[in-house]
């Protein structure tokens, strides 16, 4: 091995690691706020990527219709939950978010698919579609279970993953797709060649992490989300709705997932079930950080990306095995470092 190959592998690893970092951060966020281990995160990746790829190739993605259907179901559930205290403003707001928005997006999607919409429009539509699916998913599957144990939430999460993966097969078929690159330009620095796409990955990841940091550090809603994560009862006592925090967390997670998908679909061919594996690597990064630390998650994700790059060079058959094996020593060390077994937190 020479230094050029070494540099190539590190570069490749960092590109993938950046994506895993985004996904890992979203997982930590969702878990901290809602105690849900978000297995369907991978489906957000797939949906985002394949919706974008479909739109770019002039096909109508089924996810736009799914967003409308889930929105209607969420609206009905909202009406039912509020049946004793219905008032106009509440209904109007639910109608706008749950039905009007996805319906408008569906109309735009039909138009965009027929007219080969330019890349920025395809990206924006894909993000909004997946975001509204994420929001409805929380309303339908997790908000009614908000008071239950982590285990119940995990099982619901697995169920959502299976259902969404099946729907992904229905919408996009079994063949893989690729999307158009975001930027054609390339940059050469010594032996390394940075494609526009990998630069976009770095840039967007860094920008998103800074944006998240500002959101949590400075904005009232960001602080409210942190407060819910730190002390759920305390947050309710100052008037922060747990459901509002959950919605924001799922909204962020679905946008992050979709964005990650859109960033990688020009680099690798994505299938209806690829997202799961990608999400799982973000999950490992989150686990290494104990599902609590954002910076450790980001660093672990970059490490995972690099380990993956090296193992696919030396032993490509065992690439996934090696990456997932990383978990064993980490879990072992963590269990030894924690003296008493951490029981399920009281609520």
């Amino acid at each position: 091995m020479n230094s050029t190959i070494l540099l190539f592998l590190v570069q490749d690893g960092i590109t993938n690691g950046a994506i895993y970092a985004l996904l890992g951060l979203a997982l930590v966020l969702v878990f901290a706020v809602t105690r849900v281990i978000l297995i369907p995160q991978g489906e957000f990746v797939t949906y985002g990527a394949l919706t974008y790829a479909s739109l770019a190739s002039g096909q109508m993605p089924g996810t736009a219709k799914l967003a409308v259907v889930m929105g209607i179901a969420a609206f009905v559930l909202d009406l039912f939950a509020a049946r004793r205290a219905l008032h106009g403003r509440k209904i109007a707001r639910a109608l706008a978010v749950n039905i009007a928005l996805p319906a408008a997006v569906l109309a735009l999607t039909v138009w965009a698919a027929a007219h080969h919409a330019p890349v920025p429009i395809a990206i924006a539509l894909s993000l909004v579609i997946v975001a509204s699916i994420g929001l409805s998913l929380y309303r339908l599957a997790f908000q009614p279970l908000a008071h239950t144990s982590v285990l119940v939430l995990l099982i619901a999460s697995v169920g959502c993953h299976l259902a969404m993966q099946g729907l992904g097969l229905l919408f996009f078929g079994a063949e893989g797709q690729r999307g158009p690159v975001l930027a054609d330009a390339a940059l050469t620095a010594g032996p390394l060649r940075f494609t526009g796409q990998s630069l976009a990955v770095y840039g967007i990841t860094v920008a998103f992490i800074i944006a998240l940091w500002l959101f949590f550090g400075l904005s009232l809603y960001g602080k409210a989300l942190r407060a819910t994560a730190v002390n759920r009862l305390g947050a309710r006592l100052v008037g922060i709705r747990t459901s509002l925090s959950g919605q924001i967390a799922f909204l962020l997670a679905s946008v992050i997932g979709a964005l990650s998908g859109i960033l990688i679909v020009p680099i690798t061919t994505l299938y209806y079930d690829t997202g799961f594996l990608i999400g799982l690597k973000g999950f490992i990064a989150a686990i290494i950080a104990g599902l609590v630390s954002y910076p450790v998650t980001a660093i672990a994700a970059l490490m995972i990306g690099i380990v993956e790059a090296f193992s696919s060079f030396y032993a490509s058959n065992f690439k996934e095995v090696i990456v997932f094996m990383l978990l064993v020593p980490v879990l072992l060390l963590r269990s030894l470092a924690t003296p008493a077994a951490l029981e399920e937190e009281k609520d």
Binding site: A227, G234, L237, V238, G239
Partner: protein, 243 residues
């Protein structure tokens, strides 16, 4: 004068065990009302149920508005606030952020004036505003919990054992502040095991035993009652000791 808070015939149960049985209570505008009683009498349970943390059978209204079906957050919006026994602060956030979140439902302008008011009431919090809530002393945490509750400009502030585990000098400080709240137009419902201090600042008092009110009246009359004096004011020590 119509009551600000009125609870009538409240029953609260943990599973099949009824912890509070048929309790009725009123708090008027600008009034400090205290509920005294031994550990385990059901005082905390009652406050939590009024806030919506626990389900309650019976009727509760705040300023004429029925609360029974409302969630905690909706009760907060109507002007009810609880400083819980365990304070429920955001430990890993600083004092200022804790206070800011106390005004979560208000506007920016309301928050600015509320900050001023709370810092005037608790100058210590202003000194510590960049310190993490979890690293404050017990007394400071209690001040922060009260300050956070006041940031939302509640009509009725409910305090659950504010003196618990605090040094006597700080307890005196906290009780003086509670007295000052009345002049700021906030009514207070105070639950205390420290009956002596509570009865001194309260207008009216209820005495709770085994889930029922056994006595109610003007605080001075309650304090003068022989049985109360014997059980809660330190002439005998059995049963009234804290954790």
């Amino acid at each position: 004068m119509s009551a600000l808070l009125s609870v009538s015939d409240a029953h609260i149960a943990y599973g099949k065990v009824e912890a509070v049985r048929g309790v009725s209570l009123e708090v008027a505008d600008n009034e400090i009302v205290t509920i005294v009683g031994a550990n385990g009498a059901g005082k905390t349970t009652l406050l939590n149920a009024v806030m919506g943390v626990l389900p309650l059978k019976g009727r509760i209204a705040l300023a004429g508005e029925d609360l029974v079906r409302l969630e905690i957050e909706e009760r907060v919006a109507l002007g009810l606030s609880l400083v819980a026994e365990h304070r429920e602060l955001f430990a890993s956030m600083n004092v200022e952020d804790n206070l800011e979140l106390g005004g979560f439902r208000g506007t920016r302008a309301q928050a600015a004036s509320a900050f001023e008011r709370v810092y005037a009431l608790f100058p210590r919090l202003k000194e510590r505003r960049k310190q993490l809530a979890g690293t404050l002393s017990g007394g400071e945490q209690q001040m922060l919990a009260m300050g956070r509750a006041l940031m939302g400009a509640p009509k009725l502030l409910m305090l659950d054992e504010p003196s618990l585990g605090l040094a006597p000098i700080i307890v005196a400080d906290i009780f003086r502040t509670i007295g000052e709240l009345r002049s700021a137009g906030v009514s207070v419902l105070l639950v205390e095991q420290n009956a002596q201090a509570a009865l001194k600042i309260a207008d009216r008092a209820y005495v709770m035993e085994l889930g029922e009110f056994i006595l109610e009246g003007r605080a001075s009359e309650v304090a003068a009652n022989e049985r109360v004096a014997a059980s809660y004011l330190g002439f005998q020590h059995e049963g009234a000791s804290g954790i």
